[in-house]
């Protein structure tokens, strides 16, 4: 489903409850119609030929407030012994973005959230981060995902001399080009470095590619490589 489409007259994409329908209604006018449950959107596009991209996008709210991170609360905690490393996988939400192209210019004409939209504060009321909130299991290999979800690969390195219990993780997703292949989406690799229970940093490894996947050409927000999880992971 993800990828680029050239529409001369008509395009219909149906997947689960999501339906995207584009049809020519006049010489230079197309009708865009999208339905997801009760959530519907209809608009007209004035263009000779529709060049469209359907991509996974970070589910960031920029309409009412700024949220550049996803807060993953783990259904079961992970305890790391001192000087131990682990590679784990999580599921995280994505938005489905519909992008219109002309020459080198593009614009997002539609964004649909297929998972339950919730937010939470990581940190204090005074100066914490408002994050997109999602509850996930912890997986030891790449999990099966549903539409609206993406895989997150995390390498955790506990370099501290303490046992660390991980019950949440906050990933910075602004500016990230999510990977896609068919209907699968993948955020890529994050590295968590635990120096002490109060000093935890998380970094998105931009250089790592996911074999067989393509990177979306669209990003949302300003890329921030590092995030200090100064309120801990427990």
């Amino acid at each position: 489903m993800f990828g680029k489409y050239e529409v001369r007259n008509k395009l219909l994409i149906k997947k689960d409850m999501l339906e995207i329908n584009i049809s020519r209604i006049a010489e230079n006018v197309f009708k865009y119609y999208r339905k997801y449950g009760d959530n519907r959107l209809s608009k007209k596009i004035v263009v000779k030929e529709v060049n469209l991209g359907i991509y996974p996008l970070p589910p960031l709210n920029q309409k009412y407030f700024i949220s550049n991170t996803i807060y993953l609360r783990l259904k079961s905690t992970v305890t790391l012994s001192p000087k131990e490393k682990a590679t784990v996988y999580f599921k995280a939400p994505i938005d489905i973005g519909v992008v219109l192209y002309k020459d080198n210019v593009n614009t997002i004409i539609d964004r649909v959230t297929l998972t339950r939209e919730k937010y939470a504060i990581y940190g204090s009321i005074e100066n914490g981060l408002i994050c997109r909130f999602y509850i996930t299991d912890v997986y030891h290999e790449e999990p099966e995902i549903t539409m609206g979800e993406a895989v997150v690969k995390v390498e955790i390195d506990n370099v501290s001399n303490y046992f660390i219990e991980l019950s949440k993780i906050v990933i910075p997703v602004a500016g990230i080009n999510i990977f896609y292949k068919g209907e699968r989406a993948h955020y890529g690799l994050f590295r968590v470095n635990i120096e002490s229970p109060d000093s935890i940093s998380i970094r998105y490894v931009k250089e790592v590619e996911i074999p067989g996947f393509y990177r979306t050409p669209i990003t949302i927000g300003q890329f921030k490589e590092h995030l200090k999880m100064e309120w801990g992971v427990s």
């Binding site: 009412y64 407030f65 939209e117 939470a120």
Partner: protein
């Protein structure tokens, strides 16, 4: 050649032109530098400090150009005198405009103390709205009903200020009354599910729903939820309807005020 006597006795017309150019050039450079400073600091420092820094940069550069112009005019030996005279005039003006000075100093304290910033929703002396400007002398707000209100900074500094946007989230409190016949545990669970359905009711801190009091006509359920500050009012407008619909769907009664009237002697019905 034409020469001025007095202060500028050594100045020629060329010196005047040079001095004029210094002032004009100084003005242009000051404007450009202030604009450049504003651009490079945008997003890195708060907006009110940005405007303040930009103005300070402008005046410093412009003052330097004026001093250079005076030196070109041969008035360097009088600069100290001019500054002293300026100081004396400043003191006189200061006494004459005590309130303006008080506002100015309060403005500086407001910039340092930062109880409010441009764009934040605030309440100052019973006027609530969005801060649109904080200058040296006054603070302006656009009230919720679209009025422009200007406060002298000295009043703002001494007033109790409520800033609704200082923290990332605000608590939204509500109370809903249900009939005495209803199971309070079921009601609490139903209300909790209803508020959790709203995307902008934060999952953490968790919503708190509990029986607050046993009222005269209803069991009162307290609802405390946290919401991102910028959309507090949007959620407030929506949440009551969501809760009411959910309670109705579950068949939970929201009672009207009730009074049980008891008569000491039984009433007699008379047929007329």
């Amino acid at each position: 050649m034409f020469q001025l006597q007095g202060y500028f006795e050594f100045s020629t017309i060329i010196d005047f032109i040079a001095a004029f150019l210094y002032v004009v050039l100084g003005f242009v450079i000051a404007k450009l530098t202030a604009g450049y400073t504003s651009r490079i600091l945008k997003g890195k420092i708060p907006q009110h400090l940005l405007a303040f820094t930009s103005k300070v940069v402008f005046y410093i550069i412009f003052l330097i150009s004026v001093i250079l112009a005076l030196i070109v005019l041969g008035a360097e030996k009088y600069i100290a005198g001019i500054l002293v005279a300026g100081g004396v005039v400043g003191v006189i003006l200061g006494f004459a405009s005590e309130k303006a000075v008080s506002n100015f100093i309060s403005g500086i304290f407001l910039l340092v103390d930062r109880p409010l910033n441009i764009g934040e929703p605030v309440k100052i002396k019973n006027e609530a709205g969005i801060v649109t400007d904080i200058s040296f002398l006054s603070t302006k707000i656009k009230t919720w009903d679209g009025r422009y209100v200007r406060f002298p900074n000295s009043e703002v500094f001494n007033a109790t200020i409520t800033n609704y946007g200082k923290y990332v989230a605000r608590r939204l409190d509500m109370t809903v009354g249900v009939a005495y016949k209803e199971d309070p545990y079921k009601v609490v669970e139903t209300v909790k599910k209803a508020v959790e359905e709203h995307p902008y009711v934060l999952a953490e801190p968790e919503p708190e729903i509990f029986v607050e009091s046993l009222g005269e006509s209803s069991v009162n359920i307290a609802i405390r939820v946290w919401v991102p500050s910028p959309i507090w009012f949007k959620v407030k407008k929506e949440i009551a309807s969501i809760i009411k619909s959910k309670l109705e769907r579950e068949g939970i009664e929201i009672p009207f005020p009730q009074i049980v009237v008891w008569f000491r002697t039984p009433l007699e019905l008379k047929q007329g």
